[in-house]
């Protein structure tokens, strides 16, 4: 039975479901126990599963992500929570040199079925070291999968898929998504990793996005529709492996591509979306140069207005779509 719950509750429900189904699943991270996690995602879980399965760690991201890597190599199913995605810098060796490569280096023997859950993104006034969107880093690392669901439904279904997955999956949440509500079935279900979803159909322009930005794009799409422009919205849901086929299908219909991402523009994952479209056959389906709406190439500032200034907004998406449509066909300005 679907009922409306928050994104936070959906993530929690997936973890609880997986832990009830499988003794080998455990959650490890800073303040995930009685505190319930910095954003309350694991609230109530230690009471059900005990301190051996909902494990409070010292502030040691490299240590416990390394430990989870080893436990996963032994066949367990760890979920490591990184309190703010910025802190993932502490465990880059564990993720990039160990978890991502073990299987390959060992010639296909061994797997690291670990999930690393972490909230990214700005908009909370937390400034430069608590607001970044660093997910593109991991898109760049073969051996890792990167998931960034935007709705409670996808959060639950993708987290269950991530826990099932024999590979290491980076699971990006967003602080501003936690309180968003949506319909979520009570029963267990999976949303496949690597499948984008067209969340709004339209024939005038394709807007590709993921995570919190999906909601900004939907807002923009509604406003554009009021002005007679029908945007087709593609929510990637998974950044790696990237479902560029879904993007291609849409672009071949609309001939126009806008990517909306929260991370900084330079070498962001949006660049990968654009590249995959323009270097293939679908290049010829484009009748405008693609555009990106992304974070400015700066650290996230503290002041509310400054922060808003550097982030994508629905207004910026609307502007980008309008200028793209205004551009003369064949003139790539």
């Amino acid at each position: 039975m679907p009922r409306e719950i928050t994104y936070r509750e959906a993530v929690r429900e997936a973890m609880i479901g997986a832990m009830r189904e499988n003794e080998e699943v455990f959650l490890m991270g800073e303040d995930v126990g009685v505190y319930g996690g910095a954003f309350g995602v694991s609230r109530g879980m230690v009471e059900e599963f005990g301190e051996d399965r909902v494990v409070d760690t010292p502030i040691s991201e490299a240590g416990y992500v390394g430990l989870c890597t080893g436990a996963a190599l032994m066949g367990m199913r760890p979920i490591a929570e990184i309190q703010f995605s910025d802190f993932i810098t502490h465990c880059m060796d564990q993720l990039v040199n160990q978890a991502a490569k073990i299987r390959y280096m060992f010639g296909g023997e061994g797997t690291v079925p670990m999930v690393v859950r972490t909230p990214g993104g700005a908009g909370t006034g937390a400034a430069a070291q608590h607001s970044q969107s660093l997910e593109a880093w991991f898109v760049h690392v073969p051996g890792l999968k990167v998931v960034m669901p935007s709705t409670p439904y996808d959060a639950k279904g993708l987290l269950l898929s991530a826990i099932d997955d024999p590979n290491t999956v980076l699971f990006y949440e967003h602080k501003l998504l936690y309180n968003r509500k949506g319909d979520v079935p009570e029963e267990s279900y999976r949303v496949p990793i690597g499948e984008a979803r067209v969340s709004r159909e339209g024939g005038d322009v394709t807007v590709v996005t993921a995570g919190l930005m999906h909601h900004y794009v939907l807002e923009a799409a509604q406003a554009l529709a009021d002005g007679g422009i029908e945007a087709e919205v593609v929510d990637l849901r998974t950044l790696s492996p990237m479902d560029d086929a879904a993007v291609r299908r849409s672009v071949e219909k609309t001939g126009k591509l806008v990517v909306v991402e929260e991370d900084v523009k330079t070498a962001g994952w949006g660049a990968e979306v654009v590249s995959r479209i323009v270097e293939g056959e679908s290049f010829y389906a484009l009748d405008r140069a693609p555009a990106r709406v992304a974070g400015a190439d700066v650290p996230i500032p503290y002041n509310r207005d400054l922060e808003a200034h550097v982030r994508p907004t629905p207004e910026k998406v609307i502007d980008a779509v309008r200028s793209l449509l205004d551009a003369r066909a064949g003139v790539y300005a």
């Binding site: 010292p58 490299a62 390394g66 080893g70 066949g75 160990q98 060992f106 010639g107």
Partner: protein, 318 residues
């Protein structure tokens, strides 16, 4: 406790380890091997002594200087040689080379190209044993160079607070590449750090196989009894350079010679002769057989097939 046959077997493993690395060193000199390797020559008694204390089902993690650990853990020298030569039949099908030899199913959780890189993995294996209620332990090898990495601090602390069945075996071979341990730390022994984590710290003469064995056994008993980890430091020395490209500019010939005189293999052979376990003849035979076994492994490996180029794109994801 080991019987006579076991003790001869330990000597044999040390010889295999030594000849394996000497052979690889020669092959590099002849330009017949690709890439690089780090040699364990001089340290054999640490791996062999410590691993001899393990039981079936225990696991190890290794380092960039890992051939000796692999041999001592019982990995097949044929498949190791094939991996060094990049062949399809090597442990990693030519994808790992010297620094990534592993046999996860057997409990050899991998050599590791990153200093300190396997310390988290060892703790994770120990975590799995503890959670599953298994009477096993993880033996985590690393050099003294790793002890100044952050991961050393984090993993020793985690292992101590959760009383994980892991033995941290620090092979203090005196140099992190060219950096002398005397310059790199301000303490006498690496094991002096153990009390800071709330675990026992022990320093042993790494060239004395029996001492390494006994200290590991004691640490394993504590681990299996739920008493948690131990930091076990084995004082040792690598005779050869850090890797194949090392010109040994940071140490003297005399220093190397001094250590060579305390050779762990000679030392253990003398012990076995004293015990009457090994006759002079037995020794030469063992020595000759080990040398031949390694020659045979590399000879065989040289005839193995190269991997298919397309296999480079496989095994990224399960």
């Amino acid at each position: 406790m080991q019987d006579d046959n076991d003790r001869v077997e330990l000597l044999r493993q040390m010889l295999l380890s030594r000849y394996f690395d000497e052979k690889v060193n020669d092959l590099y000199a002849e330009g017949k091997v690709h890439g690089t390797a780090h040699f364990y020559v001089g340290q054999e008694s640490v791996a062999v002594g410590a691993i001899a204390a393990l039981k079936e089902g225990d696991v190890i993690t290794s380092t960039h200087r890992g051939h000796g650990h692999a041999v001592a853990f019982g990995l097949d020298v044929d498949r190791m040689a094939a991996e060094l030569l990049g062949q399809a039949t090597g442990y990693c099908h030519g994808k790992g080379g010297s620094m990534h030899i592993a046999d996860v199913g057997a409990g050899m959780l991998g050599a590791n190209g990153i200093v300190g890189g396997s310390m988290g993995i060892a703790c994770g294996a120990a975590w799995a044993f503890k959670r599953r209620g298994q009477d096993h332990a993880a033996l985590c090898f690393f050099g003294e160079g790793a002890t100044n990495e952050g991961i050393f601090h984090e993993t020793l602390n985690l292992a101590a607070i959760w009383k994980l069945p892991v033995i941290f075996v620090c092979e203090n071979n005196q140099y992190g590449m060219s950096m002398s341990v005397k310059k790199a730390t301000a303490i006498e022994n690496i094991s002096d750090r153990a009390p800071a984590y709330g675990m026992p710290g022990v320093t042993v003469a790494g060239s004395d196989l029996d001492e390494v064995y006994k200290a590991t056994l004691e640490a394993l008993e504590r681990a299996r009894a739920g008493e948690g980890p131990t930091l076990l430091e084995a004082i040792t020395y690598r005779y050869l350079g850090h890797s194949k490209s090392d010109a040994n500019l940071y140490r003297t010939r005399e220093e190397i010679q001094t250590w060579r005189k305390r050779d762990p293999i000679q030392r253990f052979a003398t012990v076995l002769e004293g015990e009457g376990v090994l006759e002079e003849e037995g020794w030469s035979k063992l020595d000759e057989e080990a040398r031949e076994r390694i020659e045979e492994a590399f000879e065989k490996a040289s005839r193995e097939p190269d991997p298919e180029p397309a296999s480079a794109l496989e095994d990224v994801y399960a």
